[in-house]
Symmetry: C2
């Protein structure tokens, strides 16, 4: 799935350069992080680790790859021979999939030779950027649905078949635990769900015949699409007729699907109609350009939807601040020395050195803030009682109360190119994510204008940063 | 790549229903079309036909697929046996890839048994929606660059590895004819391009050493990234030094890349600096969140950029009206009878029957408007002199001048499940697209508030629509 050539050309030209300069074996460390939380929210949900580790552990160039590269006329024989033996033997530190993560925090940290740690940049970004973006969207949808179920319906708007698979997987991490995508169901052991299309109704002489035929075929799992002609005057009455006929035959209609019109209003009408007729268990499914804001507004207006099918806006991660997670991959240590990029745009500066991502937790088990500390180095390791600094303005700082505890959000997950632990199930990742989200501070889960969760830096990281800035200026 | 199970569950449940009802062998026809042009533009560039046809011609369920489906507990043994032999033996009518297409026009029309023509809905939408959306973005970028080159840099923000491949392919159809994605270069025979990352510069003691090392390694193809520290005071002077050293050694610096700051201003400064020093051939490459609007504004301000590297906003099809192409797939004929969906939302009504998509062309060889006509049926086939009607309001109509010619924009490309013609090269598709675009009416290529290209319907299609509407009401 993730081939060695699936990368930007510049990873290869840089590798060739490092080899020529004799730098390729020097130790190096890179941090992968994003600068702004997606969707103008306060957080992201980390996802994509398992496919990323699988990519790293299988990384190798085939003979056909090498022939193609030789044909480009850019590379020396020596470099192509080097690529033939090239593998990833490095170390990866990362949070668990489903972890709540924040802007500026290293997600993956990759340590290895300069060659191996640099080369994997593009593919790691490709995997982590998109899966994290989808998982975050899924978490927002799940939170907006407040207990209602959300199903992933996005295959037809995803970027090709693998895009559809990635969407389904990452959505599950964020809490959207079922999909219409059959291959995703098989590949990731997810429940697959579906109803029928308008064309089903249109192929029959009338809507009632179409509903009856579908219900006969799936007497215990039919969800009838009620808006082909008119929801209130045709679709709902016909579906109620079928619900009665199914019950007479010893079955129950599973649900109906609304796909157009005013979903808050129509769902209340549908609920009333089915409840009055004694069908309180018929589920109401809604689709049609749903996102977290539409779901939230439906709920605020007393809509009675049980299941939300979200397609386009999940598969494309749509919305303000969506579309892409701007993850970057930056050199933070080379040949044992911390490295830092100081550019004219301060937002694009980097934090030097190998880091720990620490989470400060209060005695109610809620998250207070995160603190980036150096993994090693002079000065005391960060602990309660110490001061955390705003990385953009060290005049702003905050002492961490002594009654707080501190946990390291990440662990080494790959060592010498070997995956250390089998991946948890998607179900376990989703459970973990749900638990993390409910430990967030008040207001930080809000869909718009959330409370911004603070990520500080420790004194020793601040000092290193200041020292390198002075040196470079 | 496109497996049979890569579909929405409902395609399978409907198939099972059609089989049970004995309807599966009835002839049916579906139209795939979109309702609104992407990016608030007037047009789209059709792409994705070749992968769509490859999917159709290879469609088959494996034994493992069937075992998985059996395990879902939804399907009968009879249906699973039916799937075992299931293939696509139908007919597909389509425009050429690179064709300029408009809202409401059938792109693909699929005819076959109800079973086969219905089943392929999700996958065809998955392929055509995204490739058409990317090709359209690429055409907009290419037009905005007005002769400047555009390179696809989007892999790290694409939806997984296959998403990255789809982006590169479809971008080429729309005119973005090179990519940083090495696998896409190999797979689609596209030129691959690249520079180096900030990390290259950061791994060296200083920027000049980094530039020198890169230029030594690639003396005839180096593009130096000049913004790691400061573009004007460091990156540009150092790159000029290297340009002089390369020339002294008998080589030429290929270019420099700007990746932050005011690209219009910096590119003018860079151009002046290199021109004054006698390096008029050094190319200026720019990247950093480019899209067609940014490119347009850089050009309007006299920016001197030769090559635009577009990543995120091409791979995610970003921008107002972007993100997704809302392609749909609707039943238009069943068992020899035209079908139509008349819903309470008039925008979601469909046009019945098998159609021709006709393009009216004036004596300057420019496009005037498109007209949808029935392929067969009572009444005269559409020709100059006849009247075309606005499909939303038949009171609005227009007679086609007699000096216009009419061409059918589509052809049968698959018959009995067999691909009729080998696909043209991507280069030929891109040339065709460029030719089509320059035949569009004045103002219809404008990036914002374009002239809306008209798509009318013929009198016999209008009559059929009115007849079916009356029948259904």
């Amino acid at each position: 799935m993730h081939q060695a050539l699936m990368t930007d050309l510049y990873e290869l030209t840089m590798l060739a350069g490092y080899l020529r300069e004799g730098m390729h074996q020097q130790p190096a460390a890179f941090d992968l992080y994003f600068r702004e939380a997606p969707y103008h929210g306060s957080y992201a949900v980390f996802a994509g680790l398992q496919p990323a580790l699988e990519y790293l552990s299988n990384l190798a160039f085939t003979d056909a790859d090498l022939r193609y590269l030789a044909g480009l006329g850019l590379f020396s024989r020596e470099f192509l021979d080097f690529l033939k033996e090239f593998r990833f033997h490095g170390r990866v530190t990362a949070p668990r999939e489903g972890e709540v993560v924040f802007p500026g925090e290293p997600l993956l940290s990759v340590e290895g030779t300069l060659a191996e740690a640099q080369f994997v940049e593009t593919t790691l970004l490709n995997i982590i950027n998109f899966q994290t973006l989808v998982a975050t969207k899924a978490a927002r949808l799940t939170l907006a649905a407040r207990g209602g179920q959300v199903i992933e319906f996005g295959l037809r708007r995803a970027q090709g078949p693998d895009g559809g698979l990635s969407v389904a997987r990452a959505a599950a991490v964020g809490g959207v635990r079922s999909t219409s995508n059959v291959l995703a169901g098989r590949r990731f052991d997810l429940p697959v769900k579906g109803t029928h299309a308008h064309s089903w109704v249109m192929a029959f002489p009338d809507e009632l015949s179409a509903f009856r035929a579908y219900a006969e075929c799936f007497p215990d799992s039919s969800v009838l699409l009620v808006d082909t002609y008119d929801t209130l005057t045709s679709g709902l009455p016909n579906s109620l007729t079928v619900a009665r006929e199914l019950r007479a035959a010893g079955h129950e209609l599973l649900g109906i699907r609304l796909d157009s019109g005013d979903l808050a209003y129509l769902s209340r009408e549908a609920r009333r109609m089915f409840d009055d007729a004694g069908f309180a268990d018929v589920r109401i499914v809604a689709s049609n350009e749903l996102d977290e804001h539409v779901i939230d507004s439906i709920r605020n207006e007393g809509g009675r939807i049980d299941i939300y099918g979200v397609g386009t806006r999940l598969a494309t991660c749509a919305g303000p601040g969506g579309g892409a997670l701007g993850g970057v991959y930056k050199l933070v240590e080379y040949a044992g020395q911390p490295r830092m990029k100081v550019t004219s745009d301060p937002a694009k500066s980097t934090l030097p050195g190998c880091k720990r991502v620490l989470r400060v937790i209060d005695d109610n088990n809620h998250f207070v803030m995160d603190v980036l500390d150096l993994r090693e180095g002079t000065g005391e390791a960060f602990s309660p009682g110490q001061v955390a600094y705003d990385p953009a303005n060290s005049q702003r700082h905050k002492a961490i109360p002594l009654n707080c505890s501190i946990v390291d959000c990440r662990a080494v997950v790959m060592e010498q190119g070997r995956i250390l632990h089998p991946a948890p199930s998607l179900e376990a990742m989703a459970d973990y994510c749900a638990d993390q989200l409910q430990r967030m501070p008040d207001g930080s889960l809000r869909l718009v204008n959330p409370h911004i969760y603070k990520v500080g830096i420790s004194e020793r990281l601040l000092k290193l940063k200041e020292q390198l800035t002075t040196h470079l200026e």
